[in-house]
Symmetry: C2
């Protein structure tokens, strides 16, 4: 059994490779929910959806969110009503959000709604949110505390991120099965996702980090920082905003208490010794997932590193 801690696009790409080399029915994905949001009263779960859309073969891989070939009729019409539409939800994506919100109204949890939507999308893996409780990543900026999507989409991550806040994390309980999935796994994989705003919120849920430290599974992370830069997104800049170096070494340091192995890119070979000094084994390979072959190759390396 493999359990995967997943953020957004990096996780989705990694999982595309993983399901090609390991039986999907043995895989449980624990998804970040810190970037969930409500737009026009509809619940958006970007990380859950982008993983599902990728695994269903429906993702807009260019844009990095939403559905390929989606239309924007509704959001444009809402815009004509004079409302802010900087969060450009496509029509098909909106159908997912309407369905999810409606399932909430009928009393379902996010876990249950995710299972129902995943089932309609013929998800080959089990996907669960890390928590069913409201957990929202906020960014303390020069203009005050921003909702994550306001920082990420509306402001395009401009400005200094002084602090990353996992609002609601102290009261959040792990969703049913989350702790068990970590404890009973033979391998736990941490996808190459932003350690601060993708993996960080998962780790902030009480009990999750303890379970990762305690599990007998080998825990293998893949660094999202390559050659001092994030492969995609603002992870490098956000790390520096927190006073940290943007490097695979920092990733190793952030995860050192629960990770056994960090897969780093060949360009970071020179960092291996420093990482191993942190008690984390470094495995070196090509981590840039710009083709299906490279995705499966990376998944194989991560699985082999778990032994």
């Amino acid at each position: 059994m493999i359990t995967v801690l997943a953020g957004g696009v990096g996780a989705a790409r990694f999982l595309q490779g993983l399901v090609a080399v390991h039986p999907p029915s043995d895989i449980t994905v624990i998804s970040n929910v810190g970037d969930d949001a409500e737009f026009f009263g509809l619940h958006v779960s970007p990380d859950i959806d982008i993983v599902m859309y990728h695994l269903a073969g429906l993702a807009d891989e260019q844009r990095g969110f939403g559905l390929r070939g989606d239309t924007f009729q509704v959001i444009d019409a809402i815009g004509r009503y004079g409302y802010d539409t900087w969060f450009r939800l496509g029509d098909g994506d909106l159908a997912t959000c309407i369905t999810r919100t409606h399932l909430f109204q009928k009393g379902r949890t996010l876990s249950e709604a995710t299972q129902e939507i995943g089932s309609a999308l013929l998800m080959p893996v089990r996907i669960t949110p890390v928590t069913n409780d409201p957990l929202r990543t906020k960014i303390r900026s020069d203009d005050g505390v921003l909702d994550f999507q306001e920082y990420f989409v509306k402001r395009r991550t401009e400005g200094h991120a002084w602090e990353i806040i996992y609002e609601g994390s102290e009261q959040a309980a792990p969703a049913p099965g989350v702790i068990e999935a970590i404890s009973s796994a033979s391998t736990v994989l941490v996808t190459p996702s932003n350690p601060l705003v993708s993996i960080g919120p998962i780790l902030s849920v009480p009990g999750v980090r303890d379970a990762l430290r305690a599990t007998e599974a080998t825990v293998v992370a893949v660094s999202p920082i390559v050659g001092g830069k994030s492969v995609k997104g603002p992870a490098d800049r956000m790390l520096r905003d927190q006073g940290m170096e943007a490097s695979a070494t920092t990733v190793a340091r952030l995860y050192a208490d629960f990770v056994d192995v960090l897969v780093i890119d060949s360009v970071d070979e020179g960092l291996a010794a420093g990482i191993e000094e942190l008690g984390v084994r470094a495995v070196i390979t090509d981590t840039i997932m710009d083709s299906m072959e490279k995705k499966t190759a990376l998944a194989r390396v991560a699985l082999a590193a778990a032994g």
Copy 2:
């Protein structure tokens, strides 16, 4: 000041004529809400919307509801998730419903939401729901009590309508301004709409019928029954299902306690004497609104009948 009691398509067509012959800013429309419904958690107000879409020049006049040239991306996607989509809301129409539902979540009433949406659609007249409270028309059928849209859209009005129920009407309060609009009007017009399921729910709100009886305004109704048939929709069959004759005379009888004048079609000239015996003056004209000219002509006749 003119106050108009309005149902769906018949009301919308009549109002297109009325705003062409009378200053729209002097017109208040009191809309039926009995056919409001929730689909996928979104609040649909079909009668309010079809009137607004017609007056904004955006209506799908062929289909009789929704927006001209609308697309159906979201409802099709929701269908792919396995849900019932017999209520075919277009994308632009859905944007109206999402906006309205979101305004409710922010604490606005249906009156306030209608005003905000109407304002975005540059409504020339004031439109208010008859009540902000939940008032839902239900149909007692051979298969039990049906929601109105289930009877009207899903079952295409098939089967015997044993009883029309205005659920919630006893607890419903008139929306702000409704009673005043009736009391202070110089003319009240009742559009050629289904007396049972369009005008009936309006009359069922406590205080409304009394205000209509008490107003010094001349109250002029236009019969939706022409030559024993409804111009559009199931009014004729529903009247017969209730044991009534489908005729302009029945319309006069249903409204006799508050209507001064009933405008009937030339084909029903023979009914005029019987209608006048009910204490309702009959005015005879062409009531079929199949062109803009006929809509304005009908509006002129109704206004002239009010004196």
